[in-house]
């Protein structure tokens, strides 16, 4: 069968089982969009390329399948950079197609030319500049394979216009042969045995679960292992949802804004079982104090993560699901009543807490709790980045994997709204909330038009405190309240803004208005923006100050 390069892309997407394409057109992808127009692929046009890639990312996190993006060359491609870096940090599978100027013009500073191949070298798992149409089917096959296997990540394919229009024989390879790519999947049996023995010996074990558990589809195995050996589970931000938040063995999140009891448990533990996690600095605080009493088992598919930040006593490279299933067979049944009692005492000593009445303002944490109550903890929550993000993980208990969609590694403000859009497209039947701050929502607010255009019933809760709250919190604590460039008093009226976009806008200014506003939003079939005017100077606690051990938390006032 003879096809043009652009036709090949569409044909390959069908063979890869792609159902939705996100993107934004332009001069160097006219062929590609022309064939998309004829195809049965669902197509979602954003209002900014960054919106398209975050939506594809949200879609990928909900479905576990690669998100696919088409954009044009030059600015279309460079507008993707944040989204690519974001996906790379959080190991999200994406296949990104960018248009490029014709091969004869590459390197001449031609109109809308940017070296997106060079620009994205450090932020993609792999990338390609296609120079002949003959290699295109193989490259697309490789790209999907690389994006979705091993440690997933974004893969970019830069497609010059002449390659899109050139015609060649098309046969889509069924097998992939990439000699330099061979991820270790099966864990070393000897190491798994050693891990099982360490678990049997441990008196104060903690499971430290990261995003790898979710990616690998190992949540059920994690729960079984935790229950069998009675091991409490602390999760990273990316690991939230890998273990039911309402489970009696759940410690919640650990790290900078982790729970007091999770951080204390990790600090006193005699065994840490890190599963699909990478000992990020937001988790460990000062490295030399982290889990200083513990032997460390580190399970991860990426060998480079093992030994990078923390030396593992028992490293196990491989797929988390595979390893946990072996470990579950070998792990002894155990009870740790004394250890769990100690943790329960910490929990009692310093629970998550906030002041309901202090100043008549709505406490931001209360809004999150109200959303939790209203959705029964069953919604998909996409967040922006900042204080509201931390409250959204402290005060909402996630029961299932792939229900918290958040920018962990890169911390991208502007991620939440488009990611919620992608999540809603991936799961049309589910309730999707975007929990945002008044700062971050303004970073990709134009995507409200996308939600309206496709009638996606995303509920956008703006936790509006009039500040870039997280930065303000740091300035309050570490810079003597010198609030440099964090006040957002000239923000737009979010209710009118929502209406201007064609969405419903609601506002809650008093605590009593919070629940009715959420109920109203849930009863409306389309997108809704709720502006929650919350206490302006509330802080996120506990908080581990920079360069301190995670047991050295600022606990906040306990009233």
């Amino acid at each position: 069968m003879k096809l043009s390069g652009a036709q090949m892309v569409i044909e390959a997407l069908k063979r890869e089982g792609v159902e939705a394409v996100f993107g934004y057109p332009g001069g160097k992808v006219l062929d590609l969009f022309d064939h998309l127009y004829n195809s049965e692929l669902a197509y979602y046009m954003s209002r900014h390329e960054q919106g398209a890639i975050h939506a594809a990312d949200g879609y990928a996190r909900v479905t576990g399948k690669p998100g696919v993006i088409f954009t044009t060359s030059g600015p279309g491609a460079t507008n993707l950079v944040t989204g690519i870096a974001n996906a790379y940090m959080d190991s999200v599978p994406l296949v990104v197609f960018t248009g490029q100027v014709a091969t004869s013009l590459i390197g001449t500073d031609s109109f809308q030319e940017a070296d997106i191949f060079g620009i994205t070298l450090p932020i993609t798992k792999h990338n390609y500049l296609v120079t002949s149409v003959e290699e295109l089917p193989r490259i697309i096959r490789e790209a999907f394979h690389l994006a979705s296997t091993g440690r997933p990540g974004p893969v970019l394919i830069d497609l010059p216009t002449d390659v899109q229009s050139a015609v060649s024989d098309f046969s889509y390879p069924t097998e992939v042969r990439i000699p330099g790519y061979n991820p270790t999947v099966i864990g070393h049996p000897g190491q798994i045995n050693r891990a099982a023995k360490a678990i049997a010996r441990a008196k104060k074990p903690v499971l430290y679960a990261g995003g790898g558990v979710i990616i690998s589809g190992a949540s059920e195995l994690l729960r079984q292992l935790a229950e069998k050996a009675e091991i409490p589970v602390a999760t990273t931000l990316m690991g939230i949802g890998s273990f039911p938040g309402d489970h009696s063995l759940s410690l919640g999140m650990l790290g900078m804004h982790g729970t007091y009891w999770a951080n204390m448990a990790v600090t006193e533990a005699d065994l840490i079982i890190a599963v699909g996690a990478r000992f990020d600095d937001r988790v460990t605080g000062k490295l030399s104090s982290f889990a200083r009493e513990a032997k460390i088992i580190h399970i991860d598919i990426d060998p480079a993560e093992i030994g990078k930040n923390v030396t593992a006593d028992i490293p196990i490279v491989g797929d988390v699901k595979n390893i946990l299933s072996e470990l579950l067979k070998k792990a002894a049944e155990k009870k740790h009543a004394k250890w769990l009692a100690r943790i329960a005492a910490w929990r009692k000593d310093c629970p998550l807490h906030y002041d309901m009445k202090a100043d008549g303002h709505i406490p931001p944490q209360y809004v999150i709790e109200a959303i939790y109550e209203a959705t029964g903890g069953e919604a998909i929550i996409a967040t922006e980045v900042g204080q509201h993000q931390m409250w959204a993980v402290q005060y909402y208990l996630y029961k299932r994997p792939r229900t918290l969609i958040t920018s962990g590694g890169l911390g991208t403000m502007g991620y939440g709204l488009p990611a919620a859009i992608g999540a809603q497209i991936a799961a049309p039947q589910e309730t999707v909330f975007c929990i945002a701050g008044d700062g971050s929502i303004q970073m990709n607010i134009q995507e409200l038009a996308t939600a309206v255009a496709y009638n996606l019933p995303v509920k956008i809760a703006i936790i509006n405190n009039g500040y870039l709250g997280m930065v303000r919190q740091w300035q309050e604590i570490f810079y003597q309240k010198r609030y440099a460039a964090v006040c957002l008093e000239k923000s737009p009226d979010f209710v009118k803004l929502a209406e201007a976009f064609g969405a419903l806008g609601l506002r809650a200014e008093k605590t009593a208005e919070v629940v009715p506003a959420i109920s109203k939003a849930l009863s409306v079939p389309g997108p809704v923006v709720i502006d929650f005017c919350v206490r302006p100077e509330e802080n996120v606690y506990p908080m581990v100050p920079p360069n301190r051990g995670i047991d050295e938390m600022i606990r906040g006032d306990i009233r």
Binding site: G118, P122, P179, G180, N182, P303, G307, K308
Partner: protein
């Protein structure tokens, strides 16, 4: 400690920049780098000399392995190996100094490959020590310019570094 890594890579556009970029952004230092095709034209061999402690070296190798175009990495420092580097040195040399320089060149089994009335170009191959020694001696006459190829190295004996199916 200094290590010499032999890195087999696919001979594709952008591979050198992937490797160099990785070293730069992760803060790894390259002492020297030499690259060329192997007997299989689809595969190039990079010889990378690095100065790194154990932990950094381990990260370096693991991160290199993550590059899709990298096929195999061997640390030649861990096994008996030979390494050589070629240097071209342009020395300030009025005819009056030619005889002396000629003697140095012979002692080091180097070669004079270009002659002008006030300068000579000397080609010398060897290991680090030898190159340092001749450079020191020639600096006495005034080195005008110097260019090095970077080290290349092979394992001693009949053992070779081949690209297997699996690189890790």
């Amino acid at each position: 400690m200094k290590h010499i890594l032999a890195v087999l890579v696919e001979n594709k556009p952008g591979v050198l920049v992937r490797v160099a970029g990785l070293f730069a952004r992760r803060g790894f230092n390259i002492e020297s780098l030499a690259v060329g095709k192997t007997k299989d034209p689809g595969i190039s061999r990079m010889t990378i000399e690095v100065d790194a402690d154990e932990k950094t070296l381990e990260q370096m190798i693991k991160q290199l392995n993550k590059l899709i175009n990298v096929l195999k990495i061997s640390n030649l420092t861990l096994e008996p190996s030979v390494d050589r580097e070629l240097v071209l040195i342009k020395v300030k040399a009025p005819t009056s100094s030619w005889a002396e320089i000629q003697q140095i060149v012979e002692t080091f089994r180097a070669k004079i490959i270009d002659v002008s009335l006030d300068s000579l170009i000397i080609e010398v191959t060897g290991n680090e020590e030898k190159l340092q020694a001749i450079e020191l001696l020639l600096s006495h006459y005034g080195i005008l310019e110097l260019v090095r190829t970077g080290k290349v190295a092979l394992l001693r004996g009949s053992k070779t570094i081949q690209n297997g199916e699996v690189k890790k």
